[in-house]
Symmetry: C2
């Protein structure tokens, strides 16, 4: 029996996750679903954004379908009680160091992008973001010095082993795609990046067929606007990956379209699947959210954790077909509600 | 007597700086120029990217016109000998904590942007980047631990005073523009950002007329593609400012168009003026570089350090006129050489 943990979370998380679950159910794959609270919802219900029971459900499951966390009512809480700690805690507890964020333009959405259609049409890349290290997980603090001045600090760091395991995923992915890997860092300023670059270069000896390039993160942010079609696999650290993947996703039109996978190994492992978008409290509960990112996250779940590539492809084709037929939520310039968009995908399935 | 230090540096730095100097000379302002080597050029000539004599010239001058630094032949050098240390060293030694990076689309260049013309046309913002702190200047190291594993680390931090002095500049600028200030951080993950946000909020009590908003850096990178016209003044730290300003500049068409100012106080002080672009070793010495960013940096120099706003405006109008008349270097889709572009601006002056 295959169990999927559903951690829907805050804001639009529950609305979009419901649609993804409907699509999974329609495939008759004999899946069991187990729901658990997470994020601000869990804090208000159980006093912690990632209650032990929720972590247990996540650990027991074969894969996790995650909605979104984030709630402005929690902004003033002590950091450890904030909703974001739930997703950071899951990434750490489950060892999810691989974050896959594909950015591709769905046919028919050329007009939704701020980029010229001929530029947007060429985008087909995967951003591979390291997810268990960097300045996210180093020592950090907020303190008042002896002279009464407050200061905040966060230690950025990587070690050899952390870089190597994610870089291996990068080279393996590049081999299966176009043999092109672009590693992004800031080695002209950061020692963390210098180590990153050194390890990636050393590893490249094992992958002579892969054309490896290096780019500074400021230049990468620029090139992602100027000519995103030049990229295939981008390999980068946790912080730069956070920034660049959101940027890249928007180049394709709407962040409401893009899924992600967080894995503890290159393939075959348990994983956590979530839309790239956040909890969007401003539109929560109004049926305005685009469920496609959540639905496509379910497709990634089938492909990467359940070894059901055909079922995954069926979902992706259904989303495509619904879009081509004109289905559009407000973020795509349309008027469909969240559940109507879900209906359209189900109808196409 | 007013002295301008010319630190032309590496790659295309010298070519573009020559054109900026020609424009300054044509204005008959009784300026004296003093040249000094910097970056890779200084390393090869004098053994250090920022020789003491160069630092003296920079300190003595009323303002500094800087080209660019960066030379791939220096990549394997110990960090302290690399060209980038020259610009970081100048920023530190001269206390240049204010970095102004305007991003505006020049009329006639709508077609050079990857963004749709109607999106690009609305861009008129200033990115205000803190330049003396953050992970750039914290403790850093590259070491081999007892178990033989290498690791790299860099400490990110800000204290209250550092945030307050740059935030004051932000609010003052906002007052003189559209009373809109967007502070960008990653307070949901970083304590450094939490301190940043707290201090900015405290200071906002002194500026009730300014509408202050906060945005996470990943969202900002996305919004800069989706709808750059929403921004007026963006206030951010050193690292996020590095990434976002390069990104924003590209939204306007070419990084070859955009100048910057680095100042040690909000107004009236000595400053360093440089194009946002780098040394571009791939096109150095071929007459392909666009000198407009350097020429417009000279205009910023006149405005911010020499209190010559009319002369500054004359240069800016001449660049505009040259572009409207069709002058284009290759980055703008044209065929003019660097010096022909300089001629075109001089002719329009
Ligand atoms: C919610 C936040 C902590 C998270 C991150 O920064 O990783 C989010 O932006 C993401 O990219 O998944
Ligand atoms: C050359 C480099 C050290 C520098 C920086 O990162 O600040 C550059 O990218 C810039 O933005 O001026």
């Amino acid at each position: 029996m295959t169990t999927i943990a559903i951690l829907a979370g805050d804001g639009i998380g529950p609305e979009v996750t419901v649609q993804a679950r409907r699509v999974l159910e329609a495939l008759d794959l004999d899946l069991t679903f187990e729901e658990a609270p997470v994020g601000g919802a869990a804090y208000f219900a159980a006093g912690h954004p990632l209650p032990p029971e929720t972590l247990d459900v996540a650990k027991r499951a074969d894969a996790i379908l995650f909605g979104a966390v984030g709630d402005p009512r929690c902004d003033a809480l002590e950091r450890k009680f904030r909703p974001e700690q739930a997703i950071l805690g899951l990434r750490a507890a489950l060892g999810l160091f691989v974050n896959l964020r594909p950015a591709t333009l769905y046919p028919g959405l050329e007009d939704a992008s701020a980029l010229r259609p001929e530029v947007a049409r060429e985008i087909d890349m995967v951003i591979l973001r390291e997810l268990n290290g960097d300045v996210y997980f180093g020592e950090k603090g907020y303190r008042t010095a002896a002279n009464g001045t407050r200061e905040g600090y966060d230690v950025m760091s990587y070690n050899e082993a952390e870089v190597r395991r994610i870089a291996i995923v990068g080279f393996e992915m590049a081999k299966r795609r176009k043999n092109k890997l672009c590693s992004v860092d800031k080695a002209n300023v950061l020692e963390t990046s210098q180590l990153w670059r050194d390890v990636v270069i050393e590893l490249s000896a094992d992958y002579p067929e892969v054309a490896l390039t290096h780019m500074y993160v400021d230049n990468a942010a620029m090139q992602l606007v100027r000519n995103p079609g030049q990229f295939d696999v981008i390999l980068t650290g946790n912080l730069f990956g956070d920034i660049l993947s959101d940027q890249a996703s928007m180049c394709t039109g709407s962040i409401g379209m893009l899924p992600s996978a967080s894995l503890s190994a290159w393939s075959g492992a348990n994983g956590l699947y979530e839309p790239i978008h956040g909890s969007a409290p401003d539109i929560a509960g109004q049926g305005k959210a685009n469920p496609c990112a959540a639905i496509l996250s379910a497709a990634m779940l089938l492909r990467h954790s359940l070894e059901q590539p055909e079922a995954a492809a069926r979902i992706e084709a259904a989303v495509s077909a619904a879009l081509v037929a004109g289905a559009r939520t407000p973020d795509l310039g349309g008027t469909m509600t969240t559940s109507e968009m879900g209906d359209a995908v189900l109808a196409a399935l």
